[in-house]
């Protein structure tokens, strides 16, 4: 492959030759020689076609966003000696090289190896592919090049960071007939005291209330409130219109972080959790218990990218057909349109419990903007519109207006038990 410099030198040489002949100046004709000499020197040592083999190893194939991952790449030359070879390990554009470099320009003799080691960090979640390795054999005067692509791919899954919600009270209001940790307001197996009744044959001895029995001269048995589990369905709004801000600071990234935190917290309390994501496709995970379900949800959330224009009506349709009716729906959305209001009213009418977490797009925009006085006026108007929408939504559901710069746990703690007991 010829480079633009070699074409330029050839053109300059011909131009000077023609000019020299036209003006009958032998000195100008001689000036045509330097570009030709440089071209000739370049042609004496043409770049060889690279025949290389690359092996890449990663320190881990799964990492949390913002964590460092070490990459080791060894390139071996199985072909002729390469005078000057440029090696680039192609990285996803989201990646940042924090130590070392993924780029080298070296000489490689036949059979020689070039080890490269560097550290990458991804501030955003995703399922990424590192590679291929692009190689360009050059002549030292940059007049010609031979390219090759070494198909050595490695997969690196970067999981979103998780909001810490351990000290938050977050549980479904309605329970199902499975043991869990949610007070069911019904008699059953549990630890919270409910009342006493007269002893009946077959009652466990350890449940006898000895104080009451002594006082009333008859045996009495303690009764407890049954602890059951419920269903929570998390709906993440990752539509294109919800994307405001940068790659790392936008409502969708924060929604994913919140969704993962809520899922982890609710699953840890022995409830079932399901997920619906509005993105380019309407993606859902049916409710289930346990650690495996958390990994399933994590896997789906890792792939969330802004896109699609699925209206809330489609989410409602999926909910009615594939999810249990008495579940708690946690809608995580920046509430960019008023369609959310109608959707939430419709869901409430169908008997769902709805709670909303709304990462504020205004707070993100304000942080990223220039914060001029006229912006302040615009912010005030937009905040009034948002407050109006939020107050309308609060008539039918509990809403957490969340500034993503603060921890979600803090925003949830401000409103106490969430959602409010009915």
């Amino acid at each position: 492959m010829r480079t633009p410099l070699s074409s330029g030198l050839a053109a300059a040489s011909l131009g000077l030759l023609v000019a020299g002949l036209a003006f009958r100046s032998w000195q100008v004709v001689l000036l045509a020689l330097p570009p030709v000499i440089v071209l000739a020197l370049g042609s004496l040592f043409p770049p060889a076609r690279p025949r290389l083999v690359a092996v890449r190893t990663l320190s881990r194939d799964r990492a949390e966003a913002g964590r460092d991952v070490d990459v080791k790449l060894v390139v071996r030359n199985d072909g002729p000696t390469l005078d000057l070879v440029e090696i680039v390990d192609v990285l996803p554009r989201e990646f940042e090289v924090v130590h070392g470099t993924n780029h080298a320009v070296v000489s490689l003799e036949r059979g020689g190896t070039m080890p490269m080691s560097y550290t990458v960090r991804s501030p955003v979640k995703g399922d990424f592919r590192i590679g291929p390795v692009r190689v360009r054999s050059l002549d030292p005067l940059a007049l010609g090049a031979e390219d090759a692509v070494l198909p050595t791919d490695a997969r690196l899954v970067v999981a979103p960071t998780m909001e810490d919600l351990r000290r938050t009270k977050l549980q479904p209001r309605r329970t199902r007939p499975w043991f869990g940790q949610v007070s069911s307001r019904q008699l059953g197996e549990g630890t919270d005291f409910w009342g006493v009744r007269e002893y009946t044959a077959g009652d466990e001895v350890r449940r006898i209330n000895w104080k009451a029995s002594a006082r009333l001269d008859r045996l009495y048995t303690n009764e407890y409130e049954g602890e059951r589990s419920g269903d929570v369905v998390i709906v993440v709004d990752a539509r294109r219109e919800s994307f405001i801000g940068t790659e790392t600071d936008n409502p969708i990234e924060h929604s994913v972080r919140a969704a993962l935190g809520i899922a982890e917290h609710v699953l840890a309390s022995k409830n079932r959790v399901g997920l619906i994501v509005q993105r380019e496709v309407l993606d859902w995970v049916p409710p289930a218990f346990g650690r495996k379900q958390l990994y399933r949800i994590l896997d789906h959330l890792t792939r969330v990218r802004p896109g699609g224009e699925w209206p809330f009506a489609h989410v409602a349709w999926v909910l009615t057909r594939f999810f249990p009716r008495d579940c708690l729906i946690v809608l995580i959305s920046p509430l960019q349109d008023r369609a959310a209001l109608n959707a939430v009213i419709a869901m409430e009418a169908r008997g769902y419990d709805v709670a909303i977490v709304s990462p504020s797009p205004l707070a993100i925009e304000w942080r990223l903007g220039e914060q001029r006085p006229e912006d302040q006026t615009a912010l005030r108007i937009l905040r009034m519109e948002r407050d109006n929408l939020v107050s309308q939504l609060r008539r039918v559901a509990q809403v957490v207006d969340w500034d993503p710069a603060t921890p979600l746990a803090l925003a949830l703690r401000r409103i106490g038990t969430w959602p409010r007991p009915s």
């Binding site: 492959m1 010829r2 633009p4 410099l5 070699s6 074409s7 330029g8 030198l9 050839a10 300059a12 040489s13 011909l14 000077l16 030759l17 000019a19 002949l21 003006f23 100046s25 032998w26 000195q27 100008v28 004709v29 001689l30 000036l31 045509a32 020689l33 330097p34 570009p35 030709v36 000499i37 440089v38 071209l39 000739a40 020197l41 370049g42 042609s43 040592f45 043409p46 076609r49 005078d83 000057l84 440029e86 090289v97 130590h99 070392g100 470099t101 780029h103 080298a104 320009v105 070296v106 000489s107 070039m114 080890p115 490269m116 080691s117 030292p140 005067l141 940059a142 010609g144």
Partner: protein
């Protein structure tokens, strides 16, 4: 530590310094022209060239960089070819510097980021040696591109080659066209052979 900072700085500075030197040289020669119209016209071409190079850096618009270099070269050669008379040695040195500037810029773009990154010593020394080879070849090319035409001129002046006849001019032109065509076709010919 000092050398690790010095090499990338020197690499990045080299093409800029070379370009400034070339523009200064061209300005000096053009301003020595007595005829105001010629001087103004050539200074305008030189200004366009310098502006194109600066804009290509500021706006990262690489397409206009060759236009800038061609304009700077054309103003110098035009001044000597039309008004001042060509002084062969200085013209060859100017042209050699102009070619070296383009080569140095490519070297700087390729190597400077590597020296700025924190690298293990082994990797760094290999990149050092690759840079050394590239600079050596560039120096050889620059020296030869001045010396060979001077030798050719000396041979012509000494009468070994009859330089002033029409057949010689035609033969020289034909040879140059053949060499350039061969060099242009060589990569595709070698690829077909491989």
């Amino acid at each position: 530590m000092a050398s690790t900072q010095l090499i990338p700085s020197a690499l990045r500075a080299a093409p800029v310094v070379t370009l400034a030197f070339l523009v200064g040289w061209a300005v000096l020669d053009v301003s020595a022209i007595g005829d105001g119209r010629w001087a103004a016209g050539l200074l305008a071409v030189l200004g366009i060239g310098a502006a194109a190079v600066i804009l290509s850096v500021v706006l990262r618009w690489r397409g206009i960089r060759p236009v800038g270099l061609v304009a700077i070269g054309a103003s110098y050669i035009g001044a000597h070819a039309f008004v001042l008379g060509v002084q062969l040695v200085s013209a060859l040195v100017f042209l050699s510097f102009l070619i070296s500037q383009a080569e140095l810029r490519i070297l700087a773009e390729r190597f400077a980021p590597l020296f700025e990154a924190a690298l293990p010593p082994g990797e760094r020394s290999r990149i050092h040696s690759a840079l050394g080879r590239a600079v050596l070849r560039l120096i050889i090319a620059a020296v030869l591109s001045v010396v060979v035409p001077i030798l050719a001129a000396d041979l012509a002046v000494a009468g070994i080659v009859p330089a002033t006849t029409i057949p010689t001019a035609i033969a020289l032109a034909g040879a140059l066209v053949a060499v350039v065509a061969l060099l242009a076709l060589m990569p595709s010919l070698s690829r077909r052979a491989a």
